[in-house]
């Protein structure tokens, strides 16, 4: 089929039905809609995190047009000038392929509460923009153009991703040090832009296929990328009072070359190799990094019953950090030495096998070894020079009956010299999935995942005295359960329901700093077996009903409950507070949606869609809020 000849010319054409080739005719078809969305909200916009909180005109367009050899398509949805989506494409034969995907979104951000009393002058909270609402607009445009040589698989391609964030965010920061402590919150206008371009070409070179691509990305942080503030003097750290820069968002750029090479995909033995080189640069601090990446994939299927898959990944990251940085205040210039960032080499080998002795059973087993070797880690005091991970995974995919499918997998990981306390020494993960379809109109899906982690000898760095502690342990357990049911009660009534439960529990020994006497630190306090948990229950119900041929009704209800707890102890004794109370979590979120569509004629539809979202912050009430939207929509088919 890859040949450009007419297949009908190449066949023997025996006793066919004797039809002649008909003329080609494609009618342009599509639908255009226009509507208006009314929106009302109460209190916090947490319930409408991604909704532009104002009423707006809406429209949409779906279009497919194929005046061969040209093809066009457009799928567009415009909810407001802050909230839109468009996917447009053009093709000429298979020689020119163009596509542009444009997305615009609005994100309502939290304004964290700074209205605490503090303890002036030792501790002061200042919110410089009390009551300000924070939000950003996000725009992403992904353009791709592919040009192909006629009658030969040689392509050149270009892609460009433009990302833009614009709006006002809350900038929180510490002005100075502990003595005194000034915690500041203020508004910050942002206007960030990123442009990433990829150019490349690929083709056959004898028995293999080869691709070369060049990538370049630039990030421009806009006009407000450096903030300045008047810092008090710090006696302890010998820094004079001055106006210093802070919370800098640097301009960065990167470029990469990559080569890909592979054999035919169709063989019993298929090999693919990739080599790429990435350089990244920070134009503010002049920090640079170079990354080499290599990959080799090989699959060998000697027989339909057996498959072997080998993967190798290599990554070398070389950080080039300036040795000294100058902090330029308005009237002061201070030099500080800087430790090198972590450079590392990482190699990952994995071998997977698949054995399918029959149509009802498939067994998969894999082993993966990962080796990470760090450089300059001694300066960091905490990180091991090497970390290794061994992973074994076994999976059984069984279809004991026509109506039942079961998948069970178990994964065991062993970590040698884990770098961070969140990385365990050993972990186990069990996953069970069942799909049961007793009748064509009923489907039941069940999934349970259990993850267990264990870690001994946690690593904490104490500053005064400067010592690394290796003690304490951590045990984690995560349970996830999902049950979903989809049923077609009649040709006119579809119902789906689901329940998702997840809980994460961890018990970990924590450390808190300790004074021995004024100006002299001590080994830390240990808070043993601090329990931390997150729990959520999500319920969803949706219904689609066709009471008449010309009326469609869709209704949905979602309800999510979340709760988080932690149990820090009072390690000093007599503390007039509970640390746990500062990070409590208890909330629920309810979503109700109703959509009614009426077909007025072959060309015209009328629809109304309403949604109510309610967020109930049961812990602090700060994020309580409601958002109600109603959209009236008219559609015209053409």
């Amino acid at each position: 089929a890859a040949d450009d000849g007419d297949p009908q010319q190449t066949v023997g054409a025996p006793a066919g039905l004797g039809l002649e080739d008909s003329a080609v005719s494609y009618e342009t078809e599509g639908v255009f809609s226009v509507g208006y969305r009314w929106l009302s909200s109460e209190d916090s916009l947490k319930a409408a995190e991604y909704i532009y909180p104002h009423s707006s005109l809406t429209f949409g367009l779906d279009l497919l047009s194929c005046p061969l050899p040209y093809r066009y398509h457009v799928n567009a949805e415009f909810l407001s000038r802050h909230d839109f989506y468009s996917d447009a494409g053009f093709a000429y034969k298979d020689l020119i392929l163009f596509r542009d995907i444009l997305v615009g979104g609005h994100h309502n951000l939290d304004h964290f509460n700074y209205q605490y009393t503090g303890e002036p002058p030792g501790l002061t909270y200042t919110d410089r923009n009390v009551g300000e609402k924070y939000d950003i607009d996000f725009t992403s445009n992904l353009l791709s153009l592919r040009l192909k040589a006629p009658a030969f698989p040689f392509h050149t391609f270009l892609s460009h991703r433009h990302v833009e964030r614009e709006g006002t965010i809350e900038q929180r920061f510490l002005l100075g040090d502990f003595d005194p402590t000034y915690k500041i919150s203020q508004s910050r206008d942002i206007d960030w832009q990123s442009n990433a371009v990829k150019l490349g070409a690929n083709s056959h070179v004898g028995p293999v296929e080869l691709e070369y691509a060049y990538d370049q990305a630039r990030f421009k942080p806009g006009h407000n990328n450096i903030l300045y503030d008047s810092y008090p003097a710090s006696v302890g750290f010998s820094r004079p009072a001055d106006i210093y820069p802070h919370n800098v968002v640097p301009k960065t750029e990167s470029s990469a070359h990559s080569i890909k090479l592979h054999s035919s995909y169709t063989g019993g033995l298929v090999a693919a190799a990739t080599l790429s080189n990435l350089t990244q640069k920070n134009n503010y601090s002049l920090t640079e990094s170079t990354t080499w990446k290599g990959a080799f994939d090989c699959s060998w299927i000697p027989d339909p019953a057996v498959g072997l898959f080998f993967k190798y990944r290599h990554k070398t990251v070389d950080m080039d950090t300036p040795d000294v940085v100058t902090l330029a205040g308005l009237s002061t210039a201070l030099n500080y030495s800087v430790r090198q960032g972590i450079s590392y080499d990482k190699d990952v080998f994995s071998l997977s096998t698949r054995y399918r002795p029959s149509r009802i059973l498939a067994l998969l087993a894999s082993y993966e070894f990962s080796h990470l070797e760090r450089q300059d880690e001694a300066d960091w005091g905490l990180l091991p020079g090497q970390s290794n991970v061994h992973t074994i995974n076994v999976t059984a995919d069984v279809k004991p009956m026509d109506k039942v499918k079961v998948k069970a997998s178990y994964e065991y990981k062993n970590y040698d010299k884990p770098a961070y306390n969140t990385t365990p020494d050993v972990s186990s993960k069990l996953r069970l999935t069942t799909t049961y379809t007793p009748a064509p109109w009923l489907n039941v899906y069940l999934q349970y995942i259990l993850s267990l982690t264990e870690r001994n000898s946690l690593r904490y760095l104490n500053s005064d005295p400067a010592v690394m502690l290796e003690a304490g342990d951590r045990d984690g357990r995560r349970d996830q359960f999902l049950a979903s049911l989809a049923t077609e009660l009649s040709a006119k009534l579809l119902l789906t329901a689901s329940w998702y439960y997840q809980r994460w529990d961890v018990d970990q020994d924590l450390t808190y700093g300790k004074w021995l006497m004024a100006g002299t630190g001590d080994l830390p306090y240990w808070d043993y077996g601090v329990p931390y948990s997150d729990e959520s229950n999500s319920f969803a119900l949706s219904l689609q009903y066709l009471p008449r041929k010309d009326i469609t009704l869709v209704a949905g209800l979602t309800y999510t409950m979340i709760e988080g707890k932690c149990g820090y102890e009072d390690v000093v004794g007599g503390a007039p507070f509970s640390l746990s109370s500062f990070s409590a979590l208890k909330a629920s979120e309810t979503g109700l949606a109703l959509e009614i569509g009426k077909k007025l004629s072959k060309e015209w539809d009328l629809g109304i869609k309403s949604a109510l979202d309610i967020y109930n912050d049961r812990a602090y009430d700060a994020l309580d809020g409601k958002v109600f939207t109603t959209t009236l929509n008219v559609k015209r088919y053409f």
Binding site: V24, Y512, I562
Partner: protein
């Protein structure tokens, strides 16, 4: 030129080749004798005509020609004994004239690898590089075929649109869908972020079928301000954003794996909780230290400015 564009397998995969070659006793009859001839296929023909594959049936498309038998195998045995007159006569009586479709390749019941091979035969010849890591990728290893995601009889260019990708992916990855229902989530259900923004279903360099070569390279596509490199890096923690964030959804704000300060205390010793005299710090100081670490350490993803201490404490 012909030799150059051939993509020959290193080692033929004979068992699957046999499955997709079709009936050796049948001959090719051309599309006009199958798709266009049978009323039963009217609807199928409409869908097909709108697709890239359908377009490729026509010379006018200017594309490499593909016909029904390219995938379904030779069809002469399927229409053996049929004639135009019989089809028309049955149609007049409201009857459909069935062909003997069992003589065609039983695509639906082929092993997944053989199904994919049907597609790969052409797509390797066309140097389709988004399939570069397909063969040892997670979908191929787990016997997910091209058919699961691409309906070759419908849709322009057979590409899954970004908006449709969520529904498609969630038909198998249901727990991922459930995670997007949590209060903190990327706007996927709102239709402003798509599975394919982060994942390549055809496989890639990184695990989890990520679109880019690492977790960080994937995230900084849309969060470029966190790309770096920075003068003060958070060691190599930020190489993997998943150390602190759950991208599909979380009960905690900002997609965090755990609430502050526990998130940070897992690895870092907390600030001092006693006074030099040995008593407990005050409630307000405790609140300042143990509510949100990021109130003060606001450049936690990397910083270019030394903190008051002269070190990289991410507070300036």
């Amino acid at each position: 030129c012909t030799g150059l564009k051939e993509s020959k397998p290193i080692l033929p995969i004979r068992a699957y080749e046999k499955m997709i070659v079709g009936n050796l006793y049948a001959d090719y009859i051309g599309t006009q004798n199958c798709l266009a001839a049978c009323h039963e296929h009217d609807k199928l023909k409409q869908f097909f005509d709108a697709s890239t594959m359908g377009v490729q049936l026509k010379k006018e498309s200017g594309m490499p020609l593909v016909d029904c038998e390219s995938c379904h195998g030779p069809g002469s045995l399927a229409i053996k004994g049929l004639s135009r007159e019989l089809v028309d006569e049955n149609a007049k009586q409201g009857l459909k004239t069935p062909c003997d479709f069992k003589t065609l390749i039983d695509l639906k019941n082929l092993p997944a690898t053989a199904q994919s091979l049907t597609c790969l035969k052409c797509h390797t010849a066309n140097a389709t590089f988004n399939l570069h890591n397909w063969n040892a990728g997670p979908h191929a290893v787990n016997e997910v075929s091209c058919f699961e995601c691409h309906d070759i009889h419908a849709g322009p260019d057979l590409k899954v649109t970004p908006l449709a990708s969520g529904k498609l992916c969630f038909s198998c990855h249901k727990s991922a869908q459930a995670q997007f229902a949590l209060p903190s989530h990327h706007p996927l259900k709102e239709g402003r972020v798509f599975c394919v923004d982060c994942h390549s279903p055809h496989g890639g360099f990184a695990d989890q079928g990520l679109l880019q070569d690492s977790v960080k390279e994937t995230c900084v596509q849309c969060h470029p301000e966190k790309r770096g490199p920075f003068l003060y890096e958070h060691a190599d923690v930020t190489e993997d954003c998943l150390n602190c964030h759950s991208p599909h959804g979380s009960v905690n704000s900002k997609l965090l794996n755990a609430r502050e300060p526990f998130l940070c205390l897992q690895c870092h010793e907390g600030h001092r909780v006693n006074t030099a005299a040995g008593a407990s710090i005050s409630a307000e100081m405790a609140r300042a230290f143990y509510t949100r670490c990021s109130d003060c350490h606001s450049t936690i993803h990397g910083s270019d400015v030394p903190s008051t201490s002269g070190l990289g404490r991410f507070s300036q």
